[in-house]
């Protein structure tokens, strides 16, 4: 009698277990379908020539669907932020992801005040990209980058980037 029940139980658990494996595998496959496609991931490395930016000018380039602000600083701008400064032969640059750290809006550059001003909830960032007013909880993020002379490569971590993060 015991044997019969355990045999039935065994079959039940075997079927149940197999069904659970199937369900798990199906859920995993469903989960994977929502991941970014290979072409999306591959487009994650972008090169840009810094000499195209005039002093005092902000260029906006797209990297991983995000705007990246490239500011070529002038001497009168806020610049006491060594961990947020990219030094090249052309001078000092601020390179930050142009997405407000509050709720993801895109701040606008105000050339007369040397600040980025977020239109959504009034956050302000200085020329280093550091939050100086309003709801943003932290400075604008610096994208991983590598320098090749005057060319900046976004999406790869070079020694300058690692030094900033250290």
């Amino acid at each position: 009698m015991d044997e019969k029940i355990s045999r039935r139980d065994f079959l039940l658990y075997a079927i149940g277990g197999w069904a659970a494996v199937g369900a798990g595998a199906t859920l995993y496959a469903m989960y994977k379908t929502w991941e970014p496609l290979p072409e999306v991931k591959a487009a994650g490395v972008v090169e840009f020539d810094l000499s195209l930016v005039q002093p005092g000018e902000v260029r906006v380039i797209e990297w991983r669907r995000k705007p990246v602000f490239i500011l070529r600083r002038t001497p009168d701008m806020k610049s006491d932020c060594p961990k947020r400064t990219i030094k090249t032969k052309l001078g000092e640059f601020t390179v930050v992801i142009g997405i407000c750290t509050h709720l993801g809006c895109i701040p606008n550059w105000e050339p007369e005040n040397h600040i980025w001003h977020c239109p959504c909830h009034g956050g302000k960032y200085n020329a280093c990209g550091i939050n100086i007013f309003g709801p943003p909880p932290r400075p604008l993020e610096i994208p991983p980058f590598k320098l090749k002379g005057n060319i900046i490569v976004l999406g790869e971590e070079g020694p300058e980037y690692k030094a900033m993060k250290a």
């Binding site: 496609l37 999306v40 239109p119 959504c120």
Partner: protein, 394 residues
Amino acid sequence: MRFIDWLDERLAIRKIIKITLIDYKVPKNINFLWSFGMLLVLMFAILFISGLFLLMYYKPDSKLAFDSVNKTIMMDVSFGWLFRHVHAVGASIVFLLLYIHIARGIFYGSYKAPREVVWLTGYILFILFSATAFTGYLLPWGQMSYWAAQTITTLFEKIPFIGPDLVIWIRGDYAVADSTLTRFFALHVVFLPVLIMIFMGLHLYAVRVVGSNNEDGKKIDKEKEGVPFWPVFMSKEFFVMTVFLTFFFYLVFFKFDFAMDKINFEPANPLQTPTHIYPEWYFLAYYEVLRGFFFSQNLGLIAFALSMVLIAFLPWLDKSPIVSGKYRPLFKVAFWVFVIDFLVLTILGKLPPTGIYAWIGLFASLVYFGFFISLPIIARIEKKKFRGTTDERN
């Protein structure tokens, strides 16, 4: 042999109508607020049908979506504008109906035993309708569509450890993009409506089992104090539906622009945030709770999540033996304060969160939670006061 008899022999049509609709007795002491459940069934049907016809011309592709809505459907398809306006106004009005339906449930204690499952399935329906509205709002691919989706998905970034990866997973890209549009489309037109239909079925079945609540919140003798759902209740319901549809189509034909933001007639631009971003009116109260704790973003997020979840726990927060708000003076005060507070939050949600508005927002957010805290306290006071007399009332 009549066709109905022929069918009856094969499908027991008469029997099922009798059991589900005629033997289902609705209390006599209910008022017009009890008609909103069937109004919501009607509204869902209208959204389903209007959506079906939009689906025939809509193109879920970030390059084609905007024009398929604003050119093809609005200008080229005969009466395409009608289906779009019906769908847009319907999406808005369904929340008005939901809020009234929920408020009626709160005031008359319709969440109390034995109706907890009715309440919970109703809560799930509210969340499903919210998700459907949110995913649907992205589809026209206008500036407001895009930035609403961008902002709300960014909220998930704050979840510890998995947040940033989760956001990319939800979007299928580093920002809201074509992949986000197509998956929101799939959820909006298949997954969520199917879930809504399943939970509507469960909700109605649960009501059928335990019976409708009534103004006095008392158990009724169904034979003496009830009227058949069909045809008595529904004949009155048809009148309410007629009045409602008059109002609804007045909005569709003459006031449709309240449901369609001007900013959304600009195509989505991932590199340009509109100056003011705000949700549709029906989410403004929750949005204000999110912003209300202006000094701490994390606190705001926790408050926002709580504000959407707490209401599900009403049956366990309010254990007072008295069911209907009609006989609960203290609860009446708390209820109306809550309703007014919800309206204040809704109005503030559209105002800039600066100066005095920020402080009123914080205060109103605290009052919102105050309602849920007051419930167990009121229940306690009432238990003491009404001990011994409650049996008569229920």
